[in-house]
């Protein structure tokens, strides 16, 4: 089913104002941002559990809320499935009764057929008569999804579905959730404050901060083109740096940083053309910085773009990857405390290059790995 979701909301609470506008197509829209940014509030407005002060909510052809015309469809008739934080399964009802809860009012034969179908597709066969406290965390997630999906809702709302779980289970349930969401082809809005979860589950990501939606973009675009330094900060992007513009064209921006000139790509879509000497923020993804091998002759500036040299001052071992904190061989204060750049290398590279022993390296970055963060207009 094709469902386009259009959301415009204003909700004033004591000490907090939610004022957002975004839209999403089919698939999973993730509302991402720090706790207290208004994500769950948005979900509750979508569900009709809370009435916005102003705005408009449209799902496909159906207007669920419109302050201008006074439309406010009650929760019960919004045709939505809500997966609550902690799942909110009815503790006094069996797995089967939980799943059939939303099917009330249909002919008994249909209720039985549909619940049996959902129980089977969710892999809950054999657990029909258990109570929620008698099944595992993963099974509970499937009951919650099954209960929400059984009445065939127009869209699904998920509030931090994985946050209550411990790390190991969390990863496997994230994969399971991704599988179920794509298998059931249901339009969904998912709230999370976990950036990995947002990237893994979201087709479209809406970044929330302090009651505002500061960027709404497809996943790939958000990954490479955060709209601002604030978005980059919320996404936990590392190596967010500040320099000045040397010159900008539609497809290139040259930046002066730490006495060096860096060449980065500009997005033709965005057409951001700052004047020379404008301060500019940009970021370099740590996993895209290359160390130049010393056993293959000297570095070739024609081949190696954005060539820098420096030394490793510290490192953090994350098991599968190692983060190196590098200080450039240039005078002046390092850009990020005692270092200029974070560089992330896979463990294998760390061992092959003997980085534990050899601390001085030349670095290179492709211009496509340096991303400019447009400032306020």
């Amino acid at each position: 089913m094709s469902q386009r979701l259009e959301v415009r909301l204003v909700k004033r609470l004591p000490g907090f104002t939610l004022d957002v506008e975004w839209s999403a197509g089919d698939g999973v829209a993730v509302l991402f941002g720090p706790s207290g940014a208004g994500k769950t509030l948005t979900l509750n407005c979508l569900a009709g559990l809370l009435e916005p002060d102003a705005g408009r909510i449209v799902v496909g052809q159906h207007v669920l809320f419109d302050s201008a015309t006074g439309v406010n469809v009650p929760t019960q008739r919004r045709s939505l499935g809500y997966v609550f934080q902690g799942y909110a399964l009815f503790p006094h009802l069996s797995v089967a009764a939980n799943i059939a809860f939303g099917l009330r009012g249909r002919p008994r034969a249909e209720v039985q057929r549909r619940s049996a179908e959902v129980i089977e597709r969710m892999g809950l066969t054999g657990l029909e008569y258990r109570r929620p406290h008698e099944i595992s965390g993963g099974q509970r997630q499937r009951v919650a999804l099954g209960r929400a999906l059984a009445p065939d809702p127009a869209f699904l709302l998920l509030d931090e579905p994985l946050s209550a779980l411990d790390v190991g289970l969390r990863q496997s349930l994230r994969e399971e959730l991704a599988g179920i969401l794509s298998e059931w082809h249901v339009a969904a809005v998912l709230v999370t404050h976990d950036v990995q979860e947002a990237y893994r589950l979201g087709d479209r990501i809406v970044v929330y901060e302090a009651g505002q939606a500061i960027q709404a973009a497809p996943r790939s675009e958000l990954l490479w083109q955060p709209a601002s330094e604030r978005v980059a900060g919320i996404l936990g992007i590392r190596n967010v740096l500040r320099g000045t513009v040397v010159k900008a064209s539609h497809d290139r921006i040259h930046i002066r940083w730490r006495g060096q000139i860096l060449e980065s790509v500009n997005s033709p879509i965005r057409s951001y053309l700052p004047d020379p000497d404008t301060p500019i923020a940009f970021f370099i993804r740590p996993e895209y910085v290359r160390l130049i091998r010393k056993d293959r002759g000297p570095a070739d500036p024609a081949h190696h773009m954005n060539l820098l040299s420096g030394q490793i001052v510290r490192e953090s071992d994350f098991g599968t990857t190692v983060t190196l904190y590098m200080k450039l061989d240039v005078p002046g204060r390092p850009a990020q405390g005692d270092y200029d750049l974070e560089v992330e290398v896979p463990r294998l590279v760390y061992e092959i290059l003997e980085l534990a022993r050899d601390r001085r390296w030349q670095l290179s970055m492709h211009r496509g790995s340096i991303q400019v963060l447009p400032g306020p207009r």
Binding site: A47, L49, T75, Q76, R77, R78, L80, G81, Y82, F84, Q85, G86, A88, F90, P91, H92, F101, G102, R104, G105, R147, A148, P151
Partner: protein, 221 residues
């Protein structure tokens, strides 16, 4: 035990059962409203329901006379229309016991309802249930133990009711003389042995009630 005291025991049980039933009918919806809804006059209603718990029973009884007595605000029109008054009948004993027991049920049930996770109710709404069905299918079943404990406490309170009953229903042997009134009369008339027997009986009943409410996990008292 004399027939007079047996009839007092029977009357006490009858009054308490009716009062508890009335408590269930009035008190459970009231507890739900106080726990889950915001409305104008909510705190006033809360105070009104709780008042019999803190006022001297004779004061509550006096208010009931003002309300329901032959010349009361409600009692006078009733008496003029039908020539009948609730005062000094066993119905009066039921009404006073109900009023005196209501705060115990409402407070206990309200606490139990408030402890039910609101997301469970919200989940029921999203699955199409109107509020009253959600209350019947989700909220009240999950608050069951607290509500039952409240009913047990209400029954005990009704059984022990003395002061307010004396004011509105009087102390008419065989008609409105409940067990506590009968004990009072036995002591006044010097029937020490009878009084002791009745006191023992009432103590036993009350112990059973305390055990029952503890089993049900009553928390509000």
């Amino acid at each position: 035990m004399s027939p007079e005291h047996l009839s007092a025991l029977w009357l006490s049980v009858k009054v308490s059962v009716f009062a508890t039933a009335l408590n269930a009918v009035l008190g459970i919806p009231l507890a739900y409203l106080l726990a889950r809804r915001q409305f104008w006059g909510k705190s006033a209603l809360d105070v009104l329901v709780t008042l019999p718990l803190v006022l001297p029973p004779t004061v509550t009884g006096y208010y009931l006379i003002l309300l329901l007595g032959r010349r009361g605000w409600l009692g006078a029109p009733l008496y003029q229309a039908t020539g009948w008054s609730v005062a000094f009948t066993w119905y009066a004993a039921v009404i006073t016991a109900t009023v005196m027991a209501l705060p115990l049920l409402v407070r206990t049930a309200r606490a139990a309802i408030e402890s039910v996770d609101r997301n469970l109710e919200r989940a029921a709404y999203t699955l199409g249930r109107p509020e009253w069905r959600t209350a019947l299918e989700v909220t009240l079943p999950l608050a069951r133990n607290g509500i039952l404990a409240g009913l047990v406490l209400a029954f005990a309170r009704a059984l022990g009711e003395f002061g307010a009953t004396l004011m509105l229903a009087g102390n008419i042997p065989g008609k409105t003389q409940t067990l506590p009134l009968s004990i009072y009369t036995a002591v006044q008339t010097g029937e020490a042995g009878q009084a002791l027997a009745l006191v023992g009986l009432l103590t036993l009943l009350s112990c059973a009630v305390v055990v029952a409410s503890a089993r049900l996990g009553a928390r509000a008292l």
